[in-house]
């Protein structure tokens, strides 16, 4: 698949010229952390006219993981914690998993939940289940396999999150006036573009489901501008996203998980935005197995990650940004995760 075609400077410049013809001042939110990173990595903000503000949304699963998850994991003895690498440096209320590992906690970085299952065949293992709809089916499938193979040493801490309910909470909160959404391409592969229809129908705001190549993002912005007056959900990522998403993946996801309220760092509890492990798979539920409780612990009051995640402020507006909080010494999760808005701003936009 020659994605170079999506990186042709001349095509990109043509689309940018079209974008410049629009005179409206607008605020668009890129919901997904991978979009945030791509926008930074390709230097897209610098190509856009100043009237178009791109703000980052809550779409970084690592950033929205409550500190309580880190605290609970840090207490565990004699069990290996398998996690995606990004979580290592996320602050809990008294330190990170990386620091806890230095003091003896067993932590292994994995790239796939299936790797954690293999690990569990040697040592007792908890997989930290963080992720959105992109990642959840794989975690669900792994739990199913664990049951089939009867791997009693394996469990999952369910800390997954669902994107549409968080978006709804954000829009209904009316904290930020957003003129359009760049919707997460790979979450949409699973849930389908129709999952966002409530945004134009209920709130009169449009959205474009888009991919991660520079041309994808820029065309997405152009389409948002063209449709300001007739808000709708447009699927610009048709090469992999369908209207209804991947039914097989959805089936596995809901066979293992049930929808419930979830705690988002910086946003608080959001109804129906998370998942719990169903009774049939209770033996793989780390919450039950180890008696863990995810609670709302007050964060550092100076840290404004919560406002960043809601698009209320851009990272440089936080008094800690770059002065106290940087990737070397991150205070909040948005600076830790490689997909966090603050990290992306620090890295690409200063």
């Amino acid at each position: 698949m020659d994605l170079q075609k999506y990186r042709q400077p001349d095509l990109i410049n043509h689309v940018i010229d079209d974008i410049k013809k629009h005179t409206a001042s607008v605020k668009f939110m890129e919901v997904c952390g991978t979009h945030t990173m791509a926008i930074g990595k390709w230097g897209i903000r610098k190509l856009l006219p100043k009237k178009i503000k791109l703000i980052s949304g809550p779409g970084c699963p690592v950033c929205v993981t409550p500190s309580s998850v880190i605290d609970e994991l840090s207490k565990l003895k004699k069990v290996t914690i398998a996690t995606f690498g990004d979580l290592l440096r996320v602050p809990g209320s008294s330190g990170t998993l990386e620091k806890a590992r230095a003091l003896g906690l067993r932590v292994e970085v994995v790239y796939s939940p299936m790797e954690a299952l293999e690990l569990a065949k040697q040592v007792e293992t908890i997989f930290v289940g963080i992720g959105f709809e992109t990642t959840i089916p794989g975690i669900a499938h792994t739990i199913k396999i664990a049951k089939q193979q009867n791997v009693s040493n394996f469990s999952v801490l369910p800390a997954c999150k669902l994107v549409p309910p968080a978006l709804e909470a954000l829009i209904a909160g009316e904290e930020t006036k957003i003129d359009g959404f760049l919707l997460p391409g790979h979450v949409s592969v699973i849930i389908g573009s129709a999952a966002y229809n409530f945004i134009p129908q209920k709130y009169g705001i449009g959205g474009v489901v888009t991919g991660f190549e520079p041309l994808d993002i820029i065309v997405g912005i152009k389409k948002l501008l063209e449709n300001l007056d007739q808000p709708q959900i447009i699927n610009e990522y048709e090469r992999v996203v369908t209207k209804d998403g991947n039914k097989n993946a959805q089936a596995v996801m809901f066979e293992v998980f049930a929808v419930q309220d979830a705690l988002w760092r910086g946003l608080g509890w959001i109804p129906n935005s998370g998942l719990s492990i169903r009774e049939e798979y209770a033996q793989f539920d780390a919450l039950k197995k180890y008696g863990l409780r995810i609670t709302d612990i007050p964060e550092n009051p100076q840290c404004r990650c919560g406002d960043v995640l809601q698009g209320k402020i851009i990272p440089p507006s936080c008094t800690l940004f770059d002065k106290v909080c940087n990737p070397q010494n991150p205070v909040g999760p948005c600076m830790v995760s490689s997909e966090g808005s603050c990290a992306a701003y620090y890295k690409y936009e200063r």
Partner: protein
């Protein structure tokens, strides 16, 4: 690190049993799970994330957009 929603296209070389498959990634191959796309066939481009094929990518759609743009800006 493990970019949470990062997924990349790879080409299916072999569908092993509708459950697992071998994909080509720029000249190296890797086994992935086809649990969500059991009907994928050899030669399909597949979006891969954390060891799972999430969806088959349509090459036709991939280049249709480019072609439309190229036509528009001739």
């Amino acid at each position: 690190m493990s970019k949470m929603c990062l997924a990349i296209p790879g080409r299916l070389i072999k569908n092993l049993d509708g459950n697992k498959g071998i994909v080509d990634l720029g000249g190296v191959s890797k086994e992935i799970s086809l649990a969500f796309i059991p009907n994928a066939i050899e030669g399909d481009w597949i979006i891969i994330h954390t060891g799972f094929g999430l969806e088959i990518m349509s090459e036709k759609d991939a280049f249709e957009m480019i072609n439309i743009l190229q036509e528009a800006y001739k």
